[in-house]
Amino acid sequence: MTTLPTEHGALVRELQRRATAIRQPVNGAFELTERCNLSCQMCYVRQPAHDVARRQKELSASEWLTLAEDAVDNGMVFLLLTGGEVFLRPDFFDIYTPLTRLGLMLTLFTNGTLVTDRIARRLGEIPPSLTQITLYGGTAATYEAVTGVPGSYARCCAGIEALLKNRVRLELKTTITRSNVGELEAMRHMARNWGLAFSAVWMLMQRRDGKPSDVEDCRLSAHDCVSLEATERLDAGERIESALRDTRAGKAPVFKCQAGKSAFAINSSGEMNPCLNLFQPGVRPLDNGFRAAWEGLQHFVDDAPPLDSLCLACDMRGYCPRCPAWSAMETGTLTEPVPYLCSIASVRKERYEGMPA
């Protein structure tokens, strides 16, 4: 028997790795709503807060709890509650509070703008293991240029302060676009002032519903992505080296991550998919039970078509961040190359192969 690591992050990663080996669905994500009170140009979900039709399709609190209990019985340990914006649901605590009694490590994603003192107090009484709030800028002008909602910056800051006051464990992150990349340091400074961990993402996907998107105008250039990666991801070189080793060894897995092996996501209308960004196969655990849905998801992942011949022959494959979710969003297939990612792979190759060993 091998010893488990003692540091929390390393322990969780190791447990998840072991779960992947035995196909235990330890990692769940419940997307409680697709609706959001912000209108960020680059967002892949972004449904209007007052979309009644969409709201009516959302699972009820009792349906979420039925799903959670069934998932726990099948081995779920880590659960992310996300949206859209979760606090748009007036019944949020009807879902959240019972979940805290199921033996789950709960994580909450929110934009923070709807976190009132009352919500913060209730979360503080029974806190999630972690809450993550996304910042969209280091100033009100930039933040609100991204979110499209006047006053949202001040409300986000007030939400953060309220959560801190109630001792809710908090981390900040940002989604980098061309509009706010100049305020990355300002946002880091905000996080530091609050004593909070901070991280950034910048790989922007198209809208999941296929509607026209402004994402092309928001995306950083491939060069900017790779430069950011080098400064923001301490393990970037190590990850690329590991991917290159796999490629050299002839490995060409279609799903490289835990999706469908130890992780799943359930969207707001109750469909189960490998991850939040891939809206297939849409199996329904409420109809046939979690176990049958989980098996269906594994079949979907295991039976996925092989890599596109262009990708298989590509000498940049080890540098490429493409996955089935990216292909599905950009090409409608699970395997076709994504030109934006091809350009990132090309810059990575140039950068890492140009570096002295």
Partner: protein, 80 residues
Amino acid sequence: MRSIGGDSFLVPLGVRVAAMPGLVVLNGTGRCMWELLAQERSVDELAAAVAEHFDVDYSLAHADAQSFLDEMAQLGLLQP
């Protein structure tokens, strides 16, 4: 108590999350004692069960049981 494969650990429930935000990993002895603690047990009873189950010396099992109970009490996981 939750498990992933053969690994067992404690996940805090409800208000306990505030005091214990992480996971507590249990080894085989810890898992055995935790399961026994579903009912009220004295340290002597725990030690006797551990000594028998793991075929170890009673005094060693007693020390282990006391140390386990102290740790669990410190984490607020035991009811007096």
